[in-house]
Symmetry: C2
Subunit: 255 residues, 2 copies
């Protein structure tokens, strides 16, 4: 008999090709490691897992949600502990509960929250490597905050996704969007910025493309008007780089 559980996971994405198991098992993935641990714990190859979102290679998560299906009936807290013993140190299960069979982590998500962490000078710390991106340019925070305001609302993000990953439509609702300043708290983390965005869904590489465009607004390479023009179905020239994966965190999925 199949039993369903709902997990909240935290992981450092650096070593992984991303969340999703690769078709040809091409390399390490978070889901692959999770499935491996589930096979050990349930003593069966009959394991299934489904995440709320497919984080890309190098992208981190503080609150990925996954539904799993295994042949083992076990107290959720014991499953959580057993998983943490069997998973690599850079993947942790934060919480575990019994799930309804008809819960779908993707479809039922009301909103998702992503953070992109970055510094913008050369005074970064030796320890932020892989965790906070350094974008070594002077940035106009005022303009970047104005850009965040423009993104709030319902827009067609056809100019902000990775080509070759077509989905049924490219319209998404952005509920919250802002740039936070995080002061230096300790020896490890420098003072840095967080580009925080909450929406009902995100296209592949959308947050990183938005971050790249906002950086270019901060540098004065493009204008707020350019951003407004790009928020629609008509293809325009790309507004900025794809921000590197190490700054991005999938923070929360709200149901």
């Amino acid at each position: 008999m199949i039993h369903f559980y709902r997990l909240t996971l935290e992981y450092k994405g650096t070593r992984y090709l991303g969340w999703q198991v690769q078709p040809d098992d091409a390399g390490l993935t978070v889901q692959g490691e999770l499935n491996k641990a589930l096979r050990v714990i349930s003593k069966s190859d009959d394991v299934k897992s489904m995440g709320a979102g497919r984080t890309d290679a190098g992208v981190h998560a503080l609150g990925q949600v996954a539904k799993i299906a295994i042949v083992l009936k076990i107290a959720p807290e014991n499953l959580r502990k057993a998983l943490n013993v069997n998973l690599p140190d850079d993947i942790r299960v934060i919480s575990c509960e019994v799930s309804d069979e008809d819960f779908f982590p993707t479809i039922h998500a009301k909103s998702k929250e992503y953070h992109y962490r970055f510094t913008c000078n050369r005074s970064f710390t030796a320890f932020q490597n892989e965790l906070i991106c350094n974008h070594p340019f002077e940035l106009d925070l005022e303009k970047m905050r104005a850009a965040c305001q423009i993104l709030i609302g319902t827009h067609d993000f056809s100019n902000f996704y990775c080509e070759g990953t077509e989905v049924s439509h490219n319209v998404r609702d952005i509920f919250e969007c802002e740039i936070l300043e995080i002061p230096q708290e300790n020896w490890m983390l420098p003072s840095h910025y967080v580009f925080r965005i909450v929406g009902n869904g995100f296209l592949k590489q959308m947050v990183r493309l938005l971050m790249g465009a906002i950086w270019n607004i901060g540098r004065g390479k493009i204008t707020l008007e350019d951003l407004k023009q790009a928020l629609g179905p008509n293809k325009v020239q790309r507004l900025g780089p794809v921000a590197p994966p190490e700054g991005l965190y999938m923070v929360r999925v709200n149901y």
Copy 2:
């Protein structure tokens, strides 16, 4: 003409074989990377560097001190910036000043401070990997703190150094020794403990061997009396493991 500068460096030791350049250039070292950057900046192969202490493979530094000798006369702040452009991201120069020719970072050090960071349960975070060691056992903090008190003073540490690294004598003064509790501050760092030790010098692997012994005191595997017995020239059985390098930080050198 040779010019002398004094640097304070921060580095994440994970990728390096340690501070010291290997005789046969066997792999990446912090000093090797520093020398490489100095050769580029001074446009000369005539560069020398000397650190206050030889951190081992995987050990970090928040305040390593180095004296360098190069053929270039340059404003210290400009040298600091040029080094940070030319060094890898996981090595940063915190400060730079002109140095006396007769300053020796090793000999003139009055004291050094090391921190060993550890968690002792399975609730560590996915992000502490390489930065805070997990020692997954229940520990009696009271006893470990009593052990710290025993270590304060002048002792022969013949039982607490890596064999094959004989020096003239093994007596060292420990000025301060304690265990601090660090609360969880943010998404990355879990609440954890810091074994903090300040002394006039440390033998190779001494801090990590002391940490291993203190862990075993916390686990009840050895007694405070065993520790007292081991603080002398007479060889005793090793009291504990060499704590893994990733928890150790060279924090400060006082002159």
